[in-house]
Symmetry: C2
Subunit: 179 residues, 2 copies
Amino acid sequence: MEAASHPAVHPVAVPPHYQGAGPPPVRMKDLAGSPGTLGGLVLRFAQLGFALASLCIMVSIVGFSSVTAFCFLVAAMVFQCIWSLCLGVLDFYALLTKRSLRNSLLVSLFVVGDWVTSTMTFAGACAAAGITVLIDNDLNQCGPNHCNRFEAATAMAFMSWFTTTISFFLSFWLLATCR
Amino acid sequence: MEAASHPAVHPVAVPPHYQGAGPPPVRMKDLAGSPGTLGGLVLRFAQLGFALASLCIMVSIVGFSSVTAFCFLVAAMVFQCIWSLCLGVLDFYALLTKRSLRNSLLVSLFVVGDWVTSTMTFAGACAAAGITVLIDNDLNQCGPNHCNRFEAATAMAFMSWFTTTISFFLSFWLLATCR
């Protein structure tokens, strides 16, 4: 994590060494879990894992596609998987090559992407939760409708949303404090 | 809006005048729509109006309480109304007395409150949207189930969430940049 903040292999990403005289130039601080750190990588793979679990459980249920909300959840989970995988690979590359991902344009992209992804994931999870509670509590038709698996898929989607929200908050904080 | 950033009536909230010599002290910048500004007040009353409209439409539907998701939406709208009303009154008081609401503790409270409220409102709106789409598109039982009113209540809840999210982003940005 520390190493990632001092890129040394690629000269393009290396900030000029501070020579004294006057206040040091403002640059983004290290934040555990922010883009390009080991914490960030762990968060991305947690998001990917939860989204993939939710996706697999949902598509394993025969007839899930007859409910629009479940289709939306599947679409949101596919989107979440792609986003988290891309960002995870980027974090991994940044860690391997000791490059820094802390520039305003990249972090802005992470903030917007994380917000859109987490909002879609949360919307899908809430809609699926609403339908699951309707089938389970309100209509008491849980037997033939695989409630446990619906609940598991929804819970995994909520976990994926929660970890994406942490990434979003860290990126947004980094963006706001680095200007 | 400008006047609110230069509190003059109550000495406690007045920042010391800048006398030159050295960089000026860091203080929170004015952001249109942030707490204590006219934009902030307008946002609060928009949130309150949308949430109140959603609440009134939902409780006017006979039998809404048989669906858990609709009960959750009503609870979330009540919470949203209380929060937006309190913050709106606080903004109005700040504008009237020309006090500033820009201190870290207050803004942290606004950030946490706005995030919790907007998340609850969004969850309620998504769950209600899931059920409404199920009744309307998937089951085609719209006739006896007041679909138009369910849709209107959901749309108002989404509008309330959207305006609360704007307040949240502005407060969070203010908090991050003022430290």
